[in-house]
């Protein structure tokens, strides 16, 4: 039998897991792993800050459906990952983070760059491992990938001691994983399915709530079949966008704090909610006491701890969403729900009258318009990544997603700075797909250092900064709830065009509405990264908005604008 070092075994196992690219930055405690890397067919992307490595792995995973991998040294290298790991767990993103650790015999002695990384990441990982000897490596890597991608996916961290990287042991690849306590549910019991079918039969005003679970469990087709068969309107969470085509007449678009008004009204007036792979986050339910008061609830969910967590449900179908839907569809009849859909259509047309898209051109540059222009230019099929803030909500509202895995955004954690690195990660997953980052001036500056990663790797990504010189979303809250006292939100940014050019990235500034389309075309026609600095309206607000704690249908609406008349 051939002897291999722990580092070699690590790469051997990564290759067998199908890993083709890792995002990382070396340091003392991980050097044997870096040294061994050169002999394996894995591309290493050097990040500029380890937070970027975790977000890149995350973006890679969301765009490809595969596990993304981040690699860092011990101590500060590892702690820099934490925001990225917390972001991944909130959005059930499967990533594996590999961190170096000091020699096993030094652990506990405050050695140079020793940090209790398994301790720090315990609450933000699905599982983590401390590897103290080389003969554990193969089994741990196997288990880590299995745990990360199965069940409800999530981040897993492997902290590997330096001696475990260096020691030579016999390499035996474990074909099977044995995890007696880890058996994710698949099918839901037949009696529960029948009960669900009964509730569906009795419903007159049903609404489907489609979450991230729909795309994660590959249930997009099953959802379409179910919704069409039962003529049930489909509301989506932020991460559920794309699970159901926006152009389908049954689509209600996004629900929640900045959801469509007609969508929220439909939920509040429903008599049955069918929650598919979503978790009733406070950003979608608003006030729980008054949430969908007349609706019975069916919850299909793979993680039992999400059931009855925020909302008590009448039937819980615990299992893999796609499997459960395939079992459920034959048990339900065809329905029409014509009256209910007509009622929703009335709400929809009322909403459309307030839509900023119906405003005549007043010469001002609105983010919503820019995003709509990007949507048109890209045929609605680009992968769109975002930062966090107003631009993120406008992206969700105005880039109408027809297909899954097109919107890549930090939902549960709302991590500013996610955008640029996640975009680079997505590009490695889908190098031939058109990829646009719609970022805020605040969010962008948090991980702007990765511009040099983008240029080093020649990533063909298009960066559109919605530059409003504000931490806009916080400013909006200040405007609405703190009498417009703008504490700590005005932002004097750098000249983003010069920043891009300093990296060798072609860039343009857009200040007039007439420049929008040519700039988008310029970005699309130029190979490699391009940056456009859109100087948008500074004090626009995202509508509708449900204030925190308010009822879901008590939305602040966009004021209706008078159409200009001949006299104006």
């Amino acid at each position: 039998m051939t002897k291999k070092t722990g580092a070699e075994i690590l790469w051997e196992c990564l290759v067998r897991e199908g890993v083709e690219v890792v995002f990382g930055l070396p340091g003392g405690a991980i050097m044997p792993v870096y040294d061994a890397m050169l002999y394996y067919p894995v591309h290493h992307v050097l990040v500029r800050h380890e937070q970027g490595a975790a977000h890149m792995a995350d973006g890679y995973s969301r765009a490809s459906g595969k596990v993304g991998v981040a690699l860092t040294t011990s101590g500060p290298g590892a702690t820099n990952l934490v925001t990225g790991i917390a972001t991944a767990i909130m959005d059930s993103s499967p990533i594996v983070c590999i961190t170096g650790q000091v020699h096993a015999h030094l652990i506990g002695g405050d050695a140079f760059q020793e940090t209790d990384v398994t301790g720090i990441t315990l609450p933000v990982t699905k599982h983590n491992f401390l590897v103290t000897s080389a003969d554990e490596v193969a089994e741990v890597v196997r288990e880590a990938f299995f745990i990360a991608r199965s069940g409800r996916p999530g981040p897993v961290l492997i902290d590997i001691c330096k001696n475990a990287q260096i020691e030579e042991v016999d390499f035996i690849y474990p074909e099977e994983v044995s995890l007696p306590g880890y058996q994710p549910p698949t099918h839901a019991p037949l009696e529960d399915l029948k009960r669900a079918a009964e509730l569906i039969e009795q419903a007159e005003r049903p609404v489907i709530l489609a979450g991230h679970g729909v795309t994660m469990s590959d249930a997009v087709d099953s959802l379409r079949v179910f919704a069409t068969k039962t003529q049930t309107p489909v509301a989506m969470t932020l991460l559920g966008l794309g699970a159901f085509p926006a152009s389908d007449p049954l689509s209600l678009g996004m629900m929640g704090m900045h959801g469509e008004a007609y969508c929220n009204l439909a939920i509040q007036n429903a008599d049955l909610l069918l929650a598919f792979g979503m978790r009733f986050d406070d950003r979608v339910t608003a006030n729980l006491r008054t949430y969908a008061p007349r609706a019975r609830k069916i919850h299909i969910e793979i993680d039992p701890s999400e059931v009855h967590k925020n909302v008590e449900v009448d039937v819980a179908l615990i299992g893999d969403l796609n499997t459960v839907l395939i079992d459920l569809i034959p048990l339900v009849d065809e329905y029409d729900h014509e009256e209910w859909r007509a009622e929703i259509e009335d709400w929809r047309s009322e909403s459309q009258a307030r839509d900023i898209l119906t405003w005549p051109d007043d010469g001002k540059l609105y983010t919503a318009h820019v995003i709509r222009n990007i949507w048109e230019a890209t045929g609605g099929d680009a992968i769109l990544t975002t930062g966090v803030g107003q631009h993120q909500m406008w992206s969700a509202q105005y880039y109408c997603f027809e297909k899954p895995n097109r919107l890549i955004t930090s939902g549960g954690a709302g991590t500013m700075g996610f955008g640029l690195p996640a975009t680079i990660g997505a590009w490695f997953a889908k190098p031939d797909h058109e990829i646009w980052l719609v970022d805020g001036d605040g969010s962008f500056q948090m991980t702007q250092a990765e511009l040099s990663t983008a240029i080093q790797e020649g990533a063909n990504i298009k960066i559109a900064i919605m530059n409003n010189n504000f931490l806009g979303m916080v400013r909006q809250w200040q405007e609405f709830f703190f009498e417009s006292r703008y504490a700590g939100t005005p932002l004097i940014g750098p000249d983003f065009v010069k920043i891009a050019e300093a990296h060798g990235i072609p860039a343009r500034r857009v200040t007039e509405t007439t420049e929008v389309l040519p700039a988008i075309e310029f970005a699309r026609q130029t190979d490699g990264p391009v940056l456009i600095d859109f100087r948008v309206e500074k004090e626009e607000a995202v509508y509708p908005m449900v204030p925190t704690g308010a009822d879901l249908d008590k939305m602040i609406r966009r004021p209706i604008r008078k159409q200009p008349t001949a006299a104006d």
């Binding site: 398994t118 301790g119 315990l122 609450p123 699905k126 599982h127 401390l130 745990i147 995890l179 007696p180 306590g181 880890y182 058996q183 549910p185 698949t186 099918h187 839901a188 019991p189 037949l190 009696e191 399915l193 993680d303 039992p304 701890s305 059931v307 009855h308 967590k309 615990i318 299992g319 079992d327």
Partner: protein
């Protein structure tokens, strides 16, 4: 009211920390948590007693299953289970009081396990109520120190506790859907 749960977990370093961290994170208040070995060397057993203020057993079970090392969870609250707690109680006692303490102890089937010039240690095993009963009687004599293991529990006969989440682990077979 209190909830009592039994959890079987993999006997690996850090598992207790994972459980404790989960409970803290989810804001579950532990009354007592006992961990020990079982008949199988690779499995440890926890008996968890908690106040059910804002949680129910179903929620605790579902959260425990999020931990990869947790193999099985049963709710034995109000079930035909034997539950026992062990207490060592050091009572201030001059020689003339020893007989009285020995008397009380024998009523409770407790034992005196150490005698020092000014104190004795009483060992008692039993349900919470029984131990509380003895403690109240010893208190006037002067309790110098007390330690309790927290409860351990075991179902009688072949009965098992309640398992809520079907399919959450391999221990409860879920009904397969007929085609």
């Amino acid at each position: 009211m209190q909830l009592t749960l039994i959890a079987l977990v993999e006997n690996k370093p850090g598992v207790l920390n994972r459980v404790a961290s989960l409970f803290r994170r989810r804001n579950f208040n532990i009354e007592s948590l006992n961990v020990g070995r079982t008949e199988k060397p690779d499995i440890s057993r926890m008996t968890i007693v908690m106040e059910n203020g804002n949680v129910d057993a179903r929620k605790v079970e579902a959260n425990l299953y999020k931990l990869v090392n947790v193999i099985d969870v049963q709710d034995v609250t109000n079930q035909p289970a034997v539950t026992r707690d062990l207490a060592l109680i050091k009572v201030s006692a001059k020689s003339e009081q020893r007989a009285e303490i020995a008397n009380l102890a024998s009523i409770f089937r407790a034992r005196i396990v150490d005698v020092a010039p000014d104190s004795v240690i009483v060992e008692i095993t039993g349900t919470e109520d029984k131990i509380e009963g003895l403690v109240e009687l010893l208190r006037p004599l002067g309790i110098l120190e007390m330690v309790r293991t927290g409860q351990v529990a075991m179902m009688r006969g072949t009965a098992s506790g309640v398992r809520y989440s079907p399919g959450a682990n391999g221990f409860r077979e879920t009904e397969q859907v007929a085609d």
